[in-house]
């Protein structure tokens, strides 16, 4: 298809930077034009349900993408995991001696995390605390943000002493300034994409879905702090 | 045919108003009565600003209010001067004056803005914000604004109360001329009986929301049943015609029913109808009158047709002419004099009145 198309893509906020990287590459490759709308996954889902003109939905989790398919808002057969998020622990300056050791110690200051109900990173962070057996101990010290972004802001502004954030937020930070939480501490944070009804007949949209699974795209995605170890390939 | 009909029966808040007036569609009707008797309420009903349920108001056959109909205020051709001026705070004096003028259609019969400006001495105030006017200045602007709106009826709620005598003396004759030329009815609320005497044709006397009585000023003032004739300020009003003017002496001769008066000044031209106001306290009674011995220029033969004893004074009603067929006069003398002079009803007596006492305070008209 030679004709340049404009695609509207709804993207989970945590994937903002990676999406921009992907978009630049895709636009350069194909000449199509991408319009990203960033937002929380819940908001994006509601918008899609009530008629938002998006062609593709890059969810921050698996459920909302599945739900999109189930409710016939998108094409279930196109659902794919485009990235797996990695959780990281940061502090507001204090050195992280030995990984999650700071979590075992008696709590000091606030622990920031994303709202477990709204953001998969929040749910994962809670898993970690439970896995370490310190959830009860930290309970009174938890502050939750809307999103991982807010959790990170709590820490950066010095209001929380430690916080769970997405690795993607730290991709330009030195490796020793955070603790990358081992994958087995929490359920995998699978981020699924799905082609929406509006994009069904768009060659560019199908192209982009294909591109999302390409190794070129994966390289970019990886560079922004995401993994690929459990990829459910769409057929 | 009475052309202004006002029938009101109802209440405003918990103030009961009960009015039934038939007035001619020209001339000045003074509305007089104690504070809180309903004068303002009456005007507001006529203007349509207050809507009493049971009311009928017609002007020149046009129904303004009836059981079926209520003409809204802006559809009534009224000029209203509020008791508190009620100028538009966001407009200058000029814009306030022009507000009604602009909206009264193309009719060019009314006074011009320039005329009103000069008459009311507003030349220097035209561009002023109305918040910076003195009390009297506000009142003058409000009156000017109403006059400029070319009304079919003027409703004036104490329009001159904040004005000095000199301003009043400028404005009253103008209103008088105006209502004679344009020939519209004027309802004029005032507390000043001299304004009534000088300026009104009819008088409505109100109390407690009702009309006590109403009629021609002349009859009302001399009617011994009404408080006016009983008061120390009682006066009679005579209507006469100028029959002679002595410019040199500055005296005019005015013929009334049953006699002739010499008054100072020149109240008009020969043949003009004028009004004489004679305070009862200004009329002395005497058995003889010699104009060479005393500065009293008027000594009229009268017959005593009534006398009411009021405490230690006598309120004497006189009729001009030896036969007592002429106009009526009120005189007020002490009982002491009444007795000493041996006066009695039906007796003849000279009514002695100074010419100067007959001059109009404005010095312009009578």
């Amino acid at each position: 298809s030679a004709r340049a198309e404009t695609l509207k893509i709804a993207v989970a906020a945590n994937f903002t930077n990676a999406a921009r990287g992907l978009g630049a590459q895709f636009e350069a490759d194909t000449g199509h034009n991408l319009l990203f709308s960033f937002g929380s996954t819940g908001k994006l889902f509601a918008q899609i349900k009530y008629g938002a003109p998006f062609d593709i939905f890059l969810s921050a989790d698996m459920e909302r993408a599945t739900k999109t398919g189930n409710e016939r808002l998108g094409l279930p057969e196109t659902q794919m995991t485009y990235a797996v998020g990695r959780l990281a622990l940061v502090t507001n300056g204090a050195k992280l001696q030995d990984g999650g050791e700071i979590l075992i110690r008696p709590p000091e200051g606030k622990l920031a995390l994303a709202n477990p109900k709204l953001a998969p990173y929040g749910a994962a962070a809670r898993d970690v605390l439970k896995w370490l057996g310190v959830f009860e101990q930290w309970m009174p010290f938890l502050v939750t943000g809307n999103s991982v972004a807010q959790a990170y802001q709590f820490v950066i502004t010095g209001n929380a002493s430690v916080g769970f954030v997405a690795l993607s937020q730290l991709h330009d930070k030195p490796r020793n300034s955070y603790w990358l939480v081992p994958k087995n501490y929490h359920q995998p944070i699978r981020q699924d994409a799905i082609l929406l009804n509006a994009g069904e007949n768009s060659g560019a949209a199908r192209n982009f879905m294909k591109f999302l699974g390409s190794s070129a795209a994966r390289k970019i995605i990886a560079r922004h702090g995401y993994d690929f170890d459990v990829i459910k390939q769409a057929n | 045919m009475p052309d202004l009909n006002i029938q009101l029966n109802g209440s405003i808040g918990n103030f009961d108003l009960s009015v039934d007036l038939q007035l001619p569609s020209s001339g000045v009707t003074a509305i007089f009565g104690p504070s809180g008797c309903g004068k303002t309420s009456l005007l507001r009903c006529v203007a349509g600003l207050e809507k009493i349920s049971n009311a009928r108001i017609t002007l020149n056959g046009e129904i303004w209010q009836s059981s079926e109909k209520f003409v809204r205020p802006h559809k009534r051709s009224i000029g209203f001067v509020f008791q508190n001026s009620n100028l538009f705070a966001h407009l200058t004096v000029r814009e306030n004056l022009g507000f009604g003028k602009k909206r009264c259609g193309n009719i060019q019969t009314g006074p011009s803005l320039d005329e009103i400006t000069v008459l009311f001495g507003l030349e220097k105030l035209l561009e002023r914000a109305v918040g910076r006017l003195s009390g009297g200045e506000k009142q003058r602007v409000a009156l000017g604004r109403a006059l400029l709106s070319n009304p079919e009826i003027l409703l004036l709620d104490e329009p001159l109360s904040a004005l000095d005598q000199a301003s009043k003396n400028e404005i009253i004759p103008y209103l008088e001329r105006m209502h004679r030329f344009i020939d519209i009815p004027i309802l004029h609320v005032t507390h000043d009986i001299t304004e009534v005497e000088r300026f009104a044709d009819r008088l409505v006397l109100m109390d407690g929301g009702r009309v006590v009585t109403y009629g021609p000023v002349i009859d009302m003032l001399t009617n011994s049943d009404l408080p006016f004739s009983q008061s120390q300020g009682a006066a009679s009003i005579l209507e006469g015609i100028i029959v002679d003017i002595d410019l040199d002496q500055g005296l005019s001769r005015i013929s009334v029913d049953g006699g002739t008066f010499l008054v100072t000044g020149q109240p008009g031209n020969i043949g003009d109808a004028v009004r004489l106001r004679i305070s009862a306290a200004d009329i002395s009674l005497g058995h003889e009158w010699d104009v060479s011995k005393i500065s009293i220029l008027n000594g009229l033969a009268t017959r005593i047709i009534g006398a009411v004893e009021d405490d230690t004074q006598m309120q004497v009603t006189l009729a001009l002419g030896k036969d007592g067929s002429g106009a009526k006069l009120l005189s007020r003398i002490t009982r002491h004099s009444w007795e000493r002079l041996g006066l009695a009803v039906d007796g003849e007596i000279f009514a002695l009145i100074k010419s100067v006492a007959l001059a109009d305070p404005s010095g312009k008209s009578l």
């Binding site: 908001k43 009530y50 802001q153 | 205020p73 209203f80 909206r103």
Partner: protein
């Protein structure tokens, strides 16, 4: 960037104008109507405030969805569904800012009282004419304050706008969303610049309006 600024200003101006056009008669009615359910309408106008902006946005989204009755009517009227279009943003902003515009104007109308309108009526000014030539000028302070509050709130509001607009570049992505996204995305210097510019510009506009109000003031001590 320029596009975003332009869109933002367009939204703010259009919304403010619409707010004043609809809010002023509403305020006038609220200030003067004798009907008993007047205060109920007054309370309803204020009510959108008590819901979080995104929630309002969500309900608007539901209400205006293409397959809803209202959405169908409005969609036909405008030729496209309102959500995710500029017109939808305007609608959302107007509903959410309405109380801030209506209430100050209402107070100004109430403070004015009946007397000026009575004077106007005795000078042959119809109620409509008096509304424009007497009531509006006398309520100027309220109108300007209402306009300023509506303008500022429309500029700053992003919850409703984000929900109903979807942050589509060039169509519904306004400055408040851009700043919000920049902050969320940790692009703080970008956020500072945008916030600073917005503050500076708005400050100038607001100050100008307020000074204008004062210089037009003839009625002090009236």
């Amino acid at each position: 960037m320029l596009e975003i600024v332009f869109l933002t200003l367009k939204l703010a101006f259009v919304s403010t104008v619409i707010l004043l056009i609809f809010g002023t008669p509403l305020a006038y009615w609220l200030a003067r109507s004798p009907v008993w359910w007047r205060e109920i309408i007054g309370a309803i106008v204020t009510l959108p405030l008590v819901l979080p902006a995104t929630v309002i946005g969500f309900y608007l989204l539901v209400f205006l969805a293409p397959n809803s009755p209202a959405g169908e009517v409005l969609g036909n009227l405008f030729g496209h569904p309102l959500p995710f279009h500029f017109e939808g943003l305007v609608l959302g902003s107007v509903i959410y800012s309405l109380p801030f515009v209506v209430q100050p104007i209402r107070i100004a109308f109430e403070a004015m009282g009946e007397l000026p309108l009575e004077a106007a009526a005795t000078l042959r000014s119809s109620p409509l004419n008096a509304f424009f030539t007497v009531a509006l000028p006398l309520a100027r302070s309220g109108l300007i304050t209402g306009g300023v509050l509506g303008f500022a709130h429309t500029i700053g509001e992003f919850g409703v706008v984000l929900m109903i607009g979807g942050s589509i570049p060039g169509e519904t992505r306004v400055l408040s969303i851009a700043i919000y996204e920049a902050v969320e995305n940790l692009e703080w210097s970008k956020a500072h610049i945008m916030a600073g510019g917005m503050l500076g510009f708005s400050f100038a506009v607001i100050l100008l309006m307020m000074l204008l109000n004062k210089t037009m003031d003839r009625s002090r001590n009236a």
